[in-house]
Every structure is written in C-alpha cells, then in structure tokens.
C-alpha cells in the first residue's frame, strides 16, 4: 500500500512537470529580442516581453522585462555577456543569478556594463520548474 502511494506521488509529480513543460511559450516576444538571448533548453512559461538599453554615464545599462505565462512558479538563472565592438568579451563574465518567478508574475532583470568598452550584450538564460 505504501509503495503504491509513493508510486502515485511520483506519477503525479511527473505529470505536473510535464504539464509545466507543455505550457512553454516562445522565450522572446519578438525576433529582435530573441536575437539578444542565449537560452539553454526552454524557459517553460517565461518570456522576455521587453528589452531596452540606454547609456548612463558612458556605460550601457540594460533592462529586460520577463513575464511568467504559467500559473506555476519557476526559477530563472540568468547572466549578461558583454562584448566590445570587435566581439571580444569585456570583463571576466558575470555570475549566474537566480530569480524566482511566481505564477503570472513580471520581473525586471537589470545589468550595467562593466566598462565603457562594452557596447554589445547577450543575456544567457536557463530555467527550472520550482
């Protein structure tokens, strides 16, 4: 009886995960935004719906708005990659940062270039069901 219950729990958990994956949407709202993203696997219900950058005091500041289309919570890991005009990496690379998204929640991801030499950026992303 106990093993049957455990099996039932595992099956339910797998079904929940499968449902979450089935709800995956395109990771970017537009092709222009998608060209700035490096996505590992799929982001489930997460989608970058807005992306903007501006120069502040000679350095580039970037803000991405991410929406969780799923009602399930999700954890996003992200980091920005900065390159100069010649495509060479600027700095040592950022640390991966975890962000928790509740169901149907919007959050901003913000970053500032490590130097005025950084003129291009990409956002690397990876997500898991919470």
């Amino acid at each position: 009886m106990k093993s049957l219950l455990i099996a039932l729990c595992v099956a339910t958990s797998m079904l929940t995960t499968a449902t979450a994956m089935a709800q995956s949407v395109a990771h970017a709202a537009t092709e222009g935004i998608a060209s700035k993203l490096i996505v590992r696997g799929n982001l489930g219900g997460l989608q970058v719906i807005d992306l903007r950058s501006q120069m502040r005091n000679d350095v580039m500041a970037v803000q991405a708005e991410v929406y969780n289309f799923s009602a399930l919570d999700s954890r996003l890991y992200y980091r920005f990659r900065w390159t100069d005009s010649g495509g060479m990496q600027v700095g040592d690379g950022e640390v991966w940062k975890p962000v928790l998204f509740l169901g149907n929640q919007t959050q901003y991801l913000k970053a500032t270039a490590p130097s005025p030499r950084a003129t291009e950026f990409m956002i690397e992303m990876s997500a898991e069901a919470r």
Partner: protein, 206 residues
C-alpha cells in the same frame, strides 16, 4: 531456481550490460592532463550559483560586487576619473565574513572599468612608505627616476559600508536575509555622494 524471463527483464539486462560497457575504458580513451587520479576532486564553474548551505557564499559575494559596481559606474560620481580609496565594510552579521574580500572585488572591477583611480588605503600605506624610504634614504639609488617623497595623490572619495543579516529559524526552515550597504563619502566635506544596497534572501529546508 525458477527465473521468469519477461521482455521487461530482458530489456533491463541489456541496459545494464550497455551501462557497464560504457563505463569500461576503451583503447581510444585519452588520459587527461591531471596529476591526481582521484575522482573525488573536480573543478566547477566559479560563476555557478552555490547553494551548498545558506551561509554567506561565493554567489552572494559576486552578486553584491556586480550590483555595487554597476550602480557606481552609472552614477555621476565617477565622472572625471576621481581618486578613491577603500576604508572598511563592517560585518554586523552573526557569521564570519571576509569583508575585505568584498571590497577587494569591488575595487578590482572598478579599476578594470577605467572610470576610477584608486590610491593606497590606510592598510596599504605602510608598504608604500617603506618603499619611498628605501628609495630616498638608503643611499642605494641614483636621483634620476627615484620616486620623490610628498607626491602622493590624495583620495577624493572613500568607499565604506556594512553588511547585516536577519536570521529566522524554525525546526524545519532557516531564512537568512543579508543586506549590504555601501557608501561613497567625499573626504573633504564628509558628504555622502553615492549609496546603494543589495539585499539577498536565502531559505533552506530540512
């Protein structure tokens, strides 16, 4: 012994054999440029999110550094490559944190940005004074190229701050909230020219 040979058990046997074969070294397998043959030690990604325990860790240090450096670079306080020096970050948490390491990381990123010049801090001054004395008072050096006493550049700003924590714990859950505050003071008039905070919440369950 009566063994029932079902298609499922046959498939499991095939999978087991395949797994065992995959683990065996083949003649084409190349050795790796390592000294130790032990498999217990491995290098990982220094930028990965570390969640081994919920005490202050490498990811916290790196996230604080990124936030503070980014905020400072955006601020007009860095206009004109001002001179800065580091003071101290007070540790007001209940655990040991190497706050000098936090300031070092922030200083490194600011120096690499090229937007700020750092001068010797109070901690680093002794070594500088000794080198100046060696060049000027030992009689070993010719006057040309010798660093002269009295030409050090003073810092316009100092960086200082504090890190605090709030810990809440039940039998099954531990929640730690860290708050790092960093300030840039104008040395001459004592005013705060820039200030920012980084908050981090870490929760662990048994």
């Amino acid at each position: 012994m009566n063994v029932t040979k079902s298609p499922l058990s046959a498939a499991l046997l095939v999978m087991l054999c395949a797994t065992m074969l995959a683990g065996c070294p083949t003649p084409t397998q190349l050795s790796q440029p390592t000294v130790s043959f032990a498999r217990q030690v491995s290098y990982g990604d220094s930028k990965a999110v570390e969640t081994v325990t919920n005490e202050f860790g490498s990811t916290d240090l790196q996230m604080i550094t990124e936030k503070m450096v980014g905020s400072l670079l955006e601020s007009p306080v860095t206009n004109g490559r001002p001179t800065m020096t580091v003071a101290a970050v007070r540790n007001k948490t209940s655990e040991y944190i190497d706050t000098k390491s936090i300031l070092n990381s922030i200083q490194t990123q600011l120096v690499k940005s090229g937007k700020v010049r750092f001068v010797r801090s109070a901690d680093e001054m002794q070594a500088g004074v000794e080198e100046l004395q060696r060049q000027n008072q030992s009689g070993l050096y010719k006057s040309q190229g010798r660093a002269k006493v009295g030409n050090m550049t003073a810092a316009k700003y100092t960086l200082e701050g504090e890190i605090t924590s709030i810990v809440k714990q039940t039998v099954s859950t531990k929640d730690v909230f860290y708050k790092m505050t960093l300030k840039v003071y104008d040395v001459e008039d004592g005013s705060i020219e820039w200030q920012d905070e980084k908050e981090i919440r870490k929760t662990s369950r048994r």
